[in-house]
């Protein structure tokens, strides 16, 4: 949890958890995972503790119980309302059944959820959200009601989402789908950004894959050291005398190092592999925003087109002094308002995205900097203790040969 608090304060937000009470602050922690329910319906619930001096909130501290689908609800609501902003990513929904309640998985998820809420709480716009307040403050019954009502964006129209992604990635896909070429922004800078995001995901996914394998390698090396140590001890028992003792000591050291390796494997998973995975998720969230922007752009274009048609029609009607003019005028005015709304929405998205991308890059440099630091520190520490452990054996081995 210290990690996430560090993350929070490093994110350059205007809130810091330990600031004096005169400064507005909002700090959240997700803790105490508890398994509830039975069998197929079993799930984990978390304690969400909010400390704040925001006037709209019941302060200074409020505790609620939430489960994973509540977090999903919050994410979906924010995604709908704050188009253009990169909504912080959630840890993955499901996992292999057996693994789902393992201590490691629960801890990884808790860490991910904590990060998620804190990033929202420290985002200048998102922290104003009503839905956030509901999430942090409402009682469990209300939350349950809301959660079951809302189907959520990501559950709706998956086909549409896929469509949007396709459009963004390749411009020719629509010929295959039998649709006419969709309307797209012709903004070279934006094209570059889209290309960057998609490429970035590939590179990051590969790095994360190897990071995960590296965790496994640590575990495997630990296991083989443990087995080797046992075998050495048995061999030592066979040999007896000084040599037997030497084997025995080697075996013990080997087993001790095995423990260190297992520990480092866990650290590696939490402090290096997870941040990389988090990075990948963040990029995927940006892709969703990109899709939203494409959507908004298309809407804007369509409305502009429709409006033009209506305008032409209106002029025609006015010329013919038709009695439908009044109706048409009203329709036109409505359409115009809609079109302006749509344009405004699109422009907001563009503006927000420009700000967000800068924030994102800075945030990621910090996040990865910390991850790299932890990674290299961990590796250095591990290698050092390996060297130290084996080194203590040398004088003993010396003594054996001279005797």
């Amino acid at each position: 949890m210290i990690n996430t608090e560090q993350q929070r304060s490093a994110s350059g937000s205007s809130q810091s958890p330990r600031s004096p009470s005169s400064q507005p602050y909002l700090s959240v922690s997700v803790t105490d995972p508890v398994k509830l329910g039975n069998g197929v319906q079993a799930y984990i619930s978390y304690r969400v503790i909010t400390k704040t001096n925001f006037p709209e909130y019941q302060g200074p501290e409020k505790i609620v119980i939430r489960r994973y689908s509540d977090f999903v609800w919050l994410r979906d609501r924010l995604f709908e309302k704050y188009k253009g902003i990169f909504i912080p990513p959630l840890p993955e929904k499901s996992a292999v059944e057996k693994f789902r309640f393992s201590a490691e998985f629960i801890e990884m998820r808790r860490q991910g959820l904590d990060l998620f809420v804190n990033r929202i709480a420290s985002h200048p716009e998102l922290q104003q959200s009503e839905d956030l307040k509901t999430f942090l403050q409402a009682d469990e019954e209300t939350m349950e009601r809301l959660r079951s009502q809302d189907t959520g964006y990501f559950k709706k129209k998956p086909a549409d989402l896929m469509q949007i992604f396709k459009d963004v990635q390749s411009k020719v896909s629509d010929v295959v789908l039998g649709k006419e070429k969709p309307v797209e922004e012709s903004n070279p800078e934006y094209e570059k950004l889209k290309h960057y995001i998609f490429e970035l995901e590939n590179h990051l996914a590969e790095a994360q894959k190897h990071a995960y394998r590296l965790v496994k390698r640590h575990r495997e090396l630990g296991e083989s050291l443990s087995d080797f140590g046992k075998a050495a001890k048995l061999l030592g028992a066979c040999e007896g005398d000084a040599l037997g003792k030497a084997f025995s000591e080697l075996g013990m050291k080997s087993e001790a190092l095995s423990v260190k390796l297992q520990r480092e494997a866990h650290q590696l998973l939490m402090n290096f592999e997870e941040p990389l995975k988090d990075y990948v998720r963040a990029v995927q969230s940006i892709k969703a925003t990109i899709a939203e922007r494409a959507n908004a752009f298309r809407q804007q274009c369509e409305l502009a087109e429709t409006m033009k048609l209506k305008e032409i029609n209106l002029d025609k009607l006015m010329l013919t002094r038709s009695d439908k003019v009044g109706e048409a005028e009203i329709e036109y005015k409505e359409l115009k308002a809609e079109s302006e709304d749509s344009t405004r929405r699109f422009e907001t998205i563009v503006r927000l995205m420009n700000e967000e991308i800068v924030r994102f890059q800075e945030q990621k440099t910090l996040d990865m900097g910390i991850a790299f630091h932890n990674f290299s520190k961990g590796q250095a520490r591990l290698a050092s203790s390996i060297a130290d452990a084996w080194r203590t054996l040398l004088p003993k081995l010396e003594a054996c040969s001279s005797s």
Binding site: L221, L234, M368, S376, K377
Partner: protein, 566 residues
């Protein structure tokens, strides 16, 4: 952190495969980029060679790790190998080991009392501490040859011969350098004849016969594997102080042309003789004599079928607690030793397996670390190319440091592993030797069985003689035919007595061989194992320190991020 040398970094070519990674040109902060030699997988890595002190024989084995004072020295194979970091750093790590640590000198093959095993650290028979005897054997130049006569098929069988070159100063050999061509069949013959002549000795086991089709026999890889195995085998024989001076070994190494040793097929033809003789023996038509000189060998097929039956009968009666063999004090000690060897073999087998698993785990670690490094290098390049913001460039620089460290660490792991393989190989070697121990113990058991068979044969013959004498003494003047039978029987008894003496001598001889060999095995095994442990540990320490330093540097470079959060 921020000001990365993009131009210098440009030299990092980004590739996907491990091969390409090995060719990766990485820049280092204060030296120009160097190219890196190809590192093969741990199992086939040739030992890193280095500059040896001027007065040492270049044929003597190099120390297990490089003398980093001269990182660019070409090795014996002419490969130019260089290290990444500047020599001064490496010196700090390894000089203390090289110069002040006597353990290292021992590992360097300067002093090794190993006679049983081809020490993993030497390519020659190590200089024995007692004499300056020297013998080096090389197996090379495999060639296909045709079998001329005896073939039913015109064109005949093809087989492979190897050139066996010996250099020695041992006086029992005539000459100091000589070569012969031998085929694998000859090696089998040598091994079989040695087994017969040196019963009770721990004779290093020969390479396996491979039952494969002739096509595979000629494949490059198979021939090369066999060449290596033959060389190892001959070197082990040469390392055995008694066997190296045997006639069989000398003939094998020196005599040109056909190997002048009876082959096992010659022995097999004796089988046919034996099959003919058996019915006669069973019907008692020929005397079931065991010629004295023959008891020097265990009963085999061939002429000894009847003897086999008798000894089988004897061993069965032994088992059923019939006539007990003469119990000798030593037997208890022998049984204890046998038990100990059996236990040792079990533990060695286990340890050998776990050692292999450990080596694999280390190798995998190195590979994955390298792949991780490569992935980050690609990412760095990508970020740098697409950078719009300084935050990206900063991140790219951080990534580059991590990537470089990961690739370095990966190389260290692989070198560590190559060394580990050589050290832990000692376990495999001694495991192989346990076969020889078992076979030597079997020699003893079968010699004992021969003795016991003869003893009980003798006692039954004597009983018969007594009966006949008692019977004939009742008839005055004697029964001419009965008297004749008694004479024959007495003759048989005399011959059997002789055979018994020979058998007992043989048995005692084998027992003594067992004893001295066991003593030597224990002494040398202890020394070799101790060396192995030291080598293994020194290796682990050395490389762990190097890896730690590589990562400590990156931790230092990224420490700014940690401070922001404390």
């Amino acid at each position: 952190m921020m000001g990365s040398d993009n131009q210098v970094f440009e030299e990092a070519h980004v590739y996907a495969s491990r091969e390409e990674m090995e060719n990766l040109v990485l820049d280092d902060d204060n030296s120009s980029s160097k190219s890196f030699s190809n590192y093969r997988s741990a199992t086939s890595l040739s030992p890193p060679i280095l500059v040896t002190p001027a007065d040492s024989d270049p044929l003597l084995a190099p120390p297990p790790y490089r003398d980093l004072r001269n990182p660019n020295a070409p090795d014996n194979n002419g490969n130019n190998q260089s290290y990444i970091e500047p020599p001064s750093y490496a010196d700090v790590i390894f000089r203390p080991f090289d110069e002040t640590n006597p353990a290292v000198n021992e590992i360097n093959g300067v002093e090794s009392s190993n006679q049983f095993v081809d020490s993993p650290h030497s390519s020659t028979s190590p200089v024995s501490s007692t004499s300056s005897d020297y013998i080096k054997i090389t197996v090379s130049n495999p060639q296909k040859e045709q079998e001329m006569s005896n073939s039913l098929v015109p064109g005949g069988n093809t087989y492979v011969t190897y050139l066996i070159t010996t250099r020695t100063n041992i006086p029992e050999f005539n000459g100091s350098e000589f070569s012969v061509r031998r085929r694998f069949r000859d090696v089998v013959t040598l091994a079989d004849r040695l087994a017969e002549s040196y019963r009770g000795f721990f004779i290093p086991p020969r390479p396996d016969k491979n039952v494969v089709e002739s096509q595979v026999m000629q494949k490059q890889e198979f021939v090369e594997q066999r060449r290596v195995a033959l060389e190892k085998y001959l070197r082990r024989l040469a390392a055995h102080l008694v066997i190296r001076k045997s006639d069989e070994f000398k003939l094998f190494l020196q005599v040109q042309g056909k190997l002048p040793l009876p082959t096992s097929t010659d022995m097999a033809s004796r089988m046919l003789d034996g099959a003919v003789k058996l019915p006669k023996q069973l019907f008692g038509e020929s005397t079931a004599l065991v010629a004295p000189q023959e008891v020097g060998q265990p009963a085999k097929g061939g002429r000894d079928l009847l003897r086999l039956f008798k000894e089988l009968k004897q061993s069965v009666s032994n088992d059923w607690g019939g006539s007990k063999p003469p119990v000798i004090e030593e037997d208890k000690e022998f049984l204890e030793n046998k038990e100990r060897m059996s236990d040792l073999e079990l533990q060695l087998s286990n340890a050998s397996q776990q050692a292999e698993a450990l080596v694999k785990a280390q190798q995998d670690m190195g590979e994955t670390m390298g792949e991780l490094g490569l992935a980050f290098i690609k990412l760095t390049k990508f970020e740098n190319e697409e950078a719009l913001y300084n935050s990206q460039r900063a991140r790219a620089a951080d990534m580059k440091n991590v990537a470089t460290a990961a690739v370095k660490a990966s190389r260290f792991y692989r070198e560590l592993n190559a060394q580990t393989v050589k050290h832990l190989d000692t376990l495999h070697e001694y495991l192989g030797l346990m076969l020889a121990v078992r076979s030597a113990f079997t020699d003893r058991s079968s010699a004992l069985l021969t003795v016991q068979t003869l003893l009980s044969e003798l006692s039954s013959l004597q009983m018969r003689a007594e009966k006949l004498e008692a019977a004939s003494s009742k008839i005055f003047g004697g029964d001419k035919s009965r008297i004749r039978k008694i004479e024959e029987l007495k003759e048989t008894i005399r011959v059997t007595e002789d055979a018994k003496s020979v058998a007992i001598n043989e048995y005692e001889r084998i027992k003594e061989n067992n004893r001295t060999e066991l003593e030597r095995l224990d002494k040398e095994r202890r020394a070799d194992f101790l060396n192995m442990l030291k080598g293994f540990v020194v290796n682990q320490v050395g490389y762990a320190e190097k890896i730690a330093n590589v990562w400590a540097k990156v931790a230092e470079e990224t420490s700014g991020y940690a401070n922001e959060n404390s």
